[in-house]
């Protein structure tokens, strides 16, 4: 038994090596760097950053956009996933459609949105032609276009996580609820929804983390007035050559992402003790 477990250890080694050398060590050095000033350990980098009005704006915008995109993905994804999982006759095909956007690069998708949302794009032509607006509106390089980009980028992840969980809810449970007198709507809220929470949380964590860390989409669909944390890191590191400040922003981003993810988790445990 002891010998066997050593062999298993050997098998785990390459993976552990990779994670330690290419992720944990850089991460710790990044973290360490952010607390390092001219006089050794210091929190001054953080005080400086949080005192900065510009950073405050970016920080709040990042959070707001990510949370909003997550909420939109949840609202759009839930009924879609429910339909595909429980009612669709061509499940494989529907899943393929839902996942299809994941096969194109975010760069190409962002450029497509530029074409669609641009001053001469189809959305503007339509809005003008039905007389809603006299002049084409600016739909690009603002928070609206970024949210649209995020939602399209991450909706498949939400749908997939939800389908995974919903597929595991036996049909007998909804029948039992109906048999006990619940209408379709009530059995949805009492049975399907609480049992799907774990999928909703997984999906939300994926979408939120994705939105917080995405770089291409906010860079291409956001303007100079709508920086988010990830584009800010790039700005500090590459344009301003301020690596300390860049790592401070990175650490803040990691901490916020982890905090919000665990908040999602504890929220779900309150609704469904099983999850």
């Amino acid at each position: 038994m002891r010998k066997k477990s050593r062999i298993w250890l050997l098998l785990v080694l390459p993976g552990v090596f990779f994670v330690v050398f290419f992720m944990l060590i850089p991460l710790f050095s990044l973290c360490f760097g952010s607390f390092y000033g001219e006089a050794g350990f210091t929190l001054s980098n953080y005080f400086k950053l949080f005192g900065d009005r510009y950073f405050q704006q970016v920080f709040v915008r990042s959070l707001r956009l990510s949370l909003l995109s997550t909420a939109v993905c949840a609202v759009l994804g839930f009924p879609t996933a429910y339909y595909i999982s429980k009612y669709s006759r061509h499940k494989g095909m529907m899943m393929a459609f839902a996942v299809f956007p994941m096969f194109t690069s975010p760069v190409i998708r962002s450029f497509s949105w530029m074409v669609i949302l641009g001053k001469k794009g189809i959305v503007n032509s339509f809005l003008v032609s039905i007389g809603l607006f006299a002049k084409p509106q600016s739909l690009l390089y603002n928070e609206f276009s970024m949210t649209v980009g995020f939602v399209q980028l991450f909706l498949p992840q939400m749908i997939l996580s939800l389908i995974g969980v919903m597929d595991n809810i036996p049909d007998d449970l909804t029948l039992a609820a109906g048999n006990l007198g619940a209408t379709k709507l009530r059995s949805f809220f009492h049975v399907i929804f609480p049992l799907s929470i774990s999928g909703l949380v997984t999906g939300s964590v994926l979408v939120f983390t994705g939105c917080m860390t995405a770089y291409t989409t906010p860079q291409l669909l956001g303007g100079t007035d709508t920086r988010v944390l990830s584009t800010m890191i790039y700005q500090y590191a590459m344009s301003l050559r301020d690596w300390t400040q860049a790592s401070v922003v990175a650490v803040v981003m990691i901490v916020v992402t982890m905090a919000v993810s665990s908040a999602f988790n504890s929220l779900s445990r309150r609704i469904n003790p099983m999850a």
Partner: protein, 345 residues
């Protein structure tokens, strides 16, 4: 008038017809079992009654009212699932209370009713457990309590005991029968277990290929099966042609006279008898109505030996307590015990 009546129901999925021109009547207070092998349509019938699916053709009457298109949540029927279908995220209390909550019963009454029914199924003290923290038998009782607490007009059981071990199965079926006699509910019970269904029901309907082959009391079906399918199902293994010679008396193709359990109108029938009702003796002994034969196979089955005997009217399966008396190839004489021959179509 029957409480529940299915009239000429046709049901199935797409082109796969499972029930064809199916009819069934259940009286108030009766415990009726649907017995049959898998794929015979028994579960389809039960789900149709519950309202989980609608028939393609035919009508369902309940208490004189047309229930064919009444949605499932408006039928006050309890359903006990094979999988129990307990809500995994709810405690035992909330599971049992669910039906009452849907009926907008006030809180105090819910509390009282749930605790009472948990007492009845002997689960008091478990109300704050989650289903996954309970054993199979306990979950089964939660499912039963959840179905009982709404005081259903009809209780439907879909193989509720098939996931339990043999000992618990016997205990639970006694329990279900006791509850039914105590509370007096009308029940339809689906199973493929013959012993279980005979033990628990007032009436048994044996299904085969989407139709009811025979419906009657357990003893009626056990002693007087009407078709070869049912006869085989309840343990008849020997089948032979019979021609009438008098009232209640018939003769085989080889001329032996036999008396039948229950006479029917007609001249020619198929007769059948159970292995244990055939007597075997060494050849040469003078047995009235004896059928000569030769032992082909002898199988040791513990309490008795099973012999396959070749006779002029077909192969007979016979069971005997005498383990070594009849070797393979030995000549024997068979005789059928009086009044143990049953007529089938």
């Amino acid at each position: 008038m029957a409480l529940l009546e299915l009239q000429n129901i046709t049901a199935g999925y797409d082109k796969n017809i499972i029930l064809k021109d199916f009819s069934l009547q259940v009286e108030r207070g009766e415990f009726v079992s649907l017995l049959g092998s898998s794929g015979c349509g028994k579960t389809t019938t039960l789900r149709l009654i519950a309202g989980f699916s609608e028939p393609m053709e035919g009508k369902m009457l309940f208490d004189g009212r047309d229930y064919t298109h009444v949605p499932l949540h408006k039928r006050n029927f309890g359903f006990v699932f094979q999988s129990y279908a307990l809500f995994p995220h709810m405690t035992v209390f909330d599971n049992v209370a669910f039906g009452l909550k849907m009926r907008k019963v006030d809180r105090q009454t819910i509390e009282k009713e749930v605790m009472h029914i948990l007492e009845v199924v002997d689960l008091r003290g478990f109300e704050n457990r989650l289903p996954r923290e309970m054993s199979g038998g306990q979950r089964q009782r939660v499912a039963l309590a959840r179905a009982l607490v709404i005081k259903p007009d009809l209780l439907l059981f879909d193989e509720p005991l098939s996931n339990l071990d043999a000992k618990l199965r016997v205990k639970m079926r006694v329990e279900i029968r006791r509850l039914q006699q105590e509370l007096g509910f009308t029940a339809i019970y689906v199973t493929h277990d013959q012993e279980e269904c005979f033990a628990i029901s007032d009436k048994v309907a044996i299904m085969n290929g989407g139709v009811i082959e025979q419906m009657g009391t357990p003893s009626d079906i056990y002693n007087n099966p009407q078709t070869e399918f049912i006869a085989r199902f309840v343990g008849f293994e020997n089948f032979f042609e019979l021609t009438r010679t008098g009232e209640g008396r018939f003769k085989t193709e080889a001329g032996q006279e036999v008396a039948v359990t229950r006479d029917r109108v007609g001249e020619r029938f198929k007769g059948c008898i159970r292995p244990e009702d055939v007597l075997i003796a060494p050849a040469g002994e003078n047995v009235p109505g004896g059928i000569p034969g030769e032992v082909m196979v002898s199988t040791f089955l513990g309490r008795h030996n099973q012999l396959n005997v070749r006779t002029p009217i077909g192969e007979f399966v016979v069971s005997t307590d005498e383990h070594h008396a009849f070797g393979i190839g030995s000549a024997v004489t068979l005789s059928m015990m009086s009044n143990k021959v049953n007529l089938i179509d």
